[in-house]
């Protein structure tokens, strides 16, 4: 996890060159077409911020599980953040898909994953409720 955070941080400095490279190797085939440089830069930066937020939540979640505090409301909040993070990554990719339709593939994957996390969050919420009920049964 820390490795991916480090890679993400390093990649921040290369976003413009990545965008240049991507702009060169592809031709417009989306709704808008034309140069994809600016949308790629903006999209990648947005995704990076979201990725860091997701990693931070994940780190908190894992730390809590490590302390064997599994079914606490804080973990539900973490899962909720992760799910919304993936949803927004998906939306960003959808917007990028207006320039290059290939972006719709990762967009679908991200939104799908966000939905799965959402379900997981709801299950977790119920589990927290049941655990508190169980804890207060004497």
């Amino acid at each position: 996890m820390y490795v991916s955070a480090a890679i993400g941080f390093i990649a921040t400095f290369f976003v413009p060159s990545i965008a240049d490279w991507y702009d060169e190797i592809t031709v417009g085939s989306g709704l808008i077409g034309g140069s994809v440089r600016i949308p790629t830069i903006v999209g990648l930066y947005v995704c990076e911020v979201l990725a860091f937020a997701i990693l931070w939540s994940l780190n908190k979640l894992l730390a809590n599980i490590d302390r064997s505090e599994v079914f606490i409301p804080e973990n539900t909040v973490c899962l909720r953040r992760i799910s919304w993070g993936f949803m927004f990554v998906g939306f960003t990719f959808i917007v990028m898909g207006l320039w290059r339709s290939v972006f719709f593939i990762p967009a679908t994957a991200a939104v799908m994953f966000g939905l799965v996390m959402r379900v997981l969050k709801n299950v977790f919420e119920k589990a927290v409720e049941i655990k508190s009920e169980n804890d207060f049964t004497i």
Binding site: E133, F136, T137, I138
Partner: protein, 68 residues
């Protein structure tokens, strides 16, 4: 909740401390305190049975229903 736990009244009548009661009905003092303060959401029949046995009373002496 409309169910009120009157455990402390009964304990006072029998002149029993929380610690002693917890020990004799085999639950932790923390759990007994949850029961006494009315934070408990449910009570097992086995716990109720032991409380009644130790305090020599009926469940109605400990639990009370009051309309909201």
């Amino acid at each position: 909740m409309p169910i009120i736990v009157n455990l402390d009244v009964m304990m006072a009548k029998r002149k029993m401390s929380s610690q002693e009661l917890a020990q004799r009905i085999d639950i932790t003092t923390a759990n007994l305190s949850i029961l006494k303060t009315g934070k408990a959401k449910a009570i097992r029949f086995s716990t109720l049975e032991k409380i009644c046995q130790v305090l020599d009373c009926q469940p109605g002496d400990i639990l009370e229903y009051q309309k909201e």
